[in-house]
Each structure stands twice: as C-alpha cells, then as structure tokens.
Subunit: 235 residues, 2 copies
DNA sequence: CGGGAGATTGACTGATCTCAACCCGGGTGG
DNA sequence: CCACCCGGGTTGAGATCAGTCAATCTCCCG
C-alpha cells in the first residue's frame, strides 16, 4: 500500500462525476479530506478484512477488487467485484457493524477513503445524496437476491455459464476480445460456489464446444447466445 | 383481500413505534393516507408478484408473509419472511424497477400501504428517516450476503439446522414451545434450497436424534446447542 | 536447475435429486 | 354413508452431479 500524491482536485472531479457522490454540492465535496490523496494497492493486498471495524467508504478510483466472505472451513465466497466508481464498505459503515466481507485486490488499484461520519452527515443533510445511496444499496440487494436463487437452484454448469456472461458484461475486453479481468480457476470457483476442479472441467468442456477460448487465465467468449441459453438466464 | 376499517390513528401509532417510520414528524405522519385503513389477507393470497410494478411500501401490521423468487423451472426460493413492523417492496419502490420477488401470505395478515412518492419525499426531507431506511437496506444486504455464502458452501443438513435455529429466533413459540410459524415441507425446502424429500428425510433424522419434535407442521426445537453445532454457525 | 503456485486429469465417493409408489386425513358429491 | 379425490407427507431405489484425493504437469522465478 503506497500513498499516492494524486491531485485532490482530480479526485474531487472523479467523485463528483463517477460515483454515488455526484449529487454533493461543491461545499460538501470540499469537506472531504482528500489532501492525503489516494492509496495504491497491488494485486493480492487486502484493503480490509471480515471482522474489522470500518469507519468509512472506500471508493475505487482505479482497478478491480474482489469482495468476499470466508466460510467456516476457510473457503472463500466472492460476493461481488468492485471497479472504478464503486464503493466498498458502505454496508458496515452505515450499520456500524464489523465488516462482513474482506476485500482483496485483483488488479492494481487506486482507492480513496471517505470518513463515515461525513457520509452520515451528508445523508442527513442532502436528500439527493441519501436517495442515491439508498438506490445503490437497493440495487445491490436485488443482485444479492438473484444470486441466492441462482446458487440454490442452478447446476454448477449453469452458474459458470452465467458468471462468464456477467464478467463479459461487467468488465472491458482487450483488443483481442479477451476478458480484461484475470482470475485464477480457484477464484472462478469461489464466484460460482463450487470446487476448483469442477470449474476446470467445465471450462475445458465449454472450450471443446467452441463456446469460449482459453489462453491461461485469459478467457474469450465465443458464443454468448449459447452460453446464455446454458445459463437459463431471464435476461 | 378484505378492506379493514381499523382506526387510522391506531395505524399511525403502529407506524411511529414499530417500523422504519419511527422518525417521521407528526406532520409527516399526517401526510400518509391511512383513511382506507389496512387490508386483511388470508393464507395463500398474494400481495404482489414478481414482475409487477410496485409503487409503494407494504407495511406488515400483523401476520407472516413469505417473500420469494420463482426460478426458471418454477421452483420457488424463499428469500426472507416479513412480520409485523417489516416493510415489503421497498427495494423496487426505491429503484423504480419491477418487483423482483413475490409475496404470499403464510399466516393471515394485515397490511397497510404507503405510496412510494411520499416515501421518497420523506427520504429527501427527513435525514433521520433516510438514515433509518438506509440502515434497513444495509441490514438486509448483510443477511443476503450470509445467505449466499451459506447456500454456496454448506451441506443441506447444515443449512436445514441453521434455518430451524433462525426460525426459532425470529418467530414466537406457542405455549408448548412449538414454533408458531407453520410451513409445509415444501416451503422449508424452498428456504433451504433443496428438494422436499431431502427436508423430510433430514427432519426425521433430527427427530431420531432428539434434536427436534414434530407434530405435523409444528416443530419444537429440543436441542438448540447441538443444532447450532450441526449448522456450523458463527454466532 | 530446483521450488512453488496454479492448472489439469483420473478415479472414486457420496450427498442429494428424481421418480415412483404409497399413505393419510379432510372434504365432497353421489 | 361411503367411495373418491386431492394435497401434503413419507419412503425406497436408482441415477448422477459434483466434491475429494492424489498424481502429474506447466510455467515462472529466483
């Protein structure tokens, strides 16, 4: 974790255009202590861990972070990914509970921190902001509900297909149309909720069927339509 | 569904003491149109269905409702239960999306409706209320995250044990210490995320082991400690 | 070149699902 | 009054998806 001397005006610009803080007034934005700039994290580093006390929002300026819970047997379950513009830790900040998830860097990231007290004061004084934040929470809740139903009802094969599609929709492709996000097979398994070996077998099956192309960790979706069919998605 | 002529002052009293509306001012409370009173629903009736447009909060005054999603193969997944003081439909009301869940009465209920526009105006004008609502959403989000991890990682046996414990903690017991809530085996399966037959087999196994007692749909927890151990819960 | 992490493959196991039969109690219509 | 039906609830047998374990391989790095 490295202190980054990025211009605080740049950060302000970012917050006010790309994040849930977009409806803060100029004066409110000025209250956020950004003098320290943001922090740079490298792949594998943790920002905070399950059980820790969190007192503010961690806003992703750049990079990709996995947000996950560790089950009683030490196995991780990835809940979601955070990418530029996303907020981490808002649940615990709002409820005042300990963090219920850990956050680990997938792709080198720049994070800036916004104290919780400040956020709460904004919620109380700025109705637009409160509404945006509420919407954010509700959107996440909707996704969580879908996730529950999927994991409870679908086969591993269906879920893996769905995860691949979601990854394609959520993350950029490189110039050869490979998914930019680079995940280990174990991480994929921790999204799908299955064993690493199962992911490996299914991936090579999909590859056989010309649905995807694999180059190490890089994945290219070749036949989105068929994958969607396999996944039994509604959309 | 029957129109109930309950006193609107009684409802106001209820809203301002038992629900997320507790921080509304007297004036704000008066804005809520409660003249029509509340509505009575009977077991089996639906309040709203997945895919419908919802334009407000459904507040449970009395009764128990299951909130569930229907999977692509027609199988239901129960997401949570709503009981007196709880709000249904707030996610869709806030995000403006179609309902992502259906709601079906488990135990005869009294429901009162609060228009969404009004709620949104409260969010914008009353910071305390906004904060309470946000907390509500965040609490649910935390539970959803736990749920995801459980379903993804635990065995059916562990999950069923956990569900029984949660039911005991969430619902009252009758004078013989049986769980008040009455669920079919299929409904239990739809919480756990398994087949009806699996629930039946595991229940009778738990009964053999003197962990629970069964009288038709009524369930009594005999050995909470051991069930918690079986469930591998953290708490 | 040796070591280690991650990826792959194969064999085996077993938890859980599916299917089908059967039971049970309540309600109903002849 | 009784046969029948219907919605749960139970039980058993068999099929299978997916997890575990163990061996091997492939890179990449120091």
């Amino acid at each position: 974790m490295i202190r980054n001397s990025s211009d605080s005006n740049e950060l302000k610009e970012f917050l006010s255009t790309k994040t849930v803080f977009k409806h803060l007034s100029k004066e409110e934005l000025d209250l956020i202590p950004l003098e320290n700039g943001s922090e740079i994290f490298r792949r594998g580093e943790m920002i905070y861990e399950e059980g820790h006390r969190i007192n503010g929002f961690y806003c992703v300026v750049k990079g990709i972070i996995k947000i996950f819970k560790t089950g009683f047997d030490g196995k991780d379950q990835i809940i979601r990914f955070a990418k530029p513009g996303d907020i981490m830790g808002f649940r615990s900040t709002i409820t005042g509970e300990l963090a219920c998830t850990s956050t680990k860097i997938i792709e080198d990231s720049v994070i800036c921190y916004i104290p919780g007290d400040l956020v709460k004061s904004f919620v109380k004084s700025n109705g637009e902001f409160a509404m945006d934040l509420l919407e954010l929470a509700c959107n996440e809740l909707g996704e969580a509900n879908d996730y529950i139903t999927d994991i409870a009802q679908k086969t591993v094969r269906e879920r893996l297909a769905e995860v691949l599609i979601h990854l394609k929709w959520s993350f950029n492709l490189d110039n050869e149309n490979f998914l930019q996000i680079s995940l280990t097979r174990e991480e994929l398994a921790n999204i799908v909720g299955t064993a690493t070996e199962s992911v490996i077998r299914l991936l090579s099956e999909f590859k056989q069927d010309r649905l995807i192309e694999l180059h190490g960790r890089k994945i290219k979706i070749l036949d989105e339509t068929k994958l969607i069919k396999i996944s039994n998605m509604h959309y």
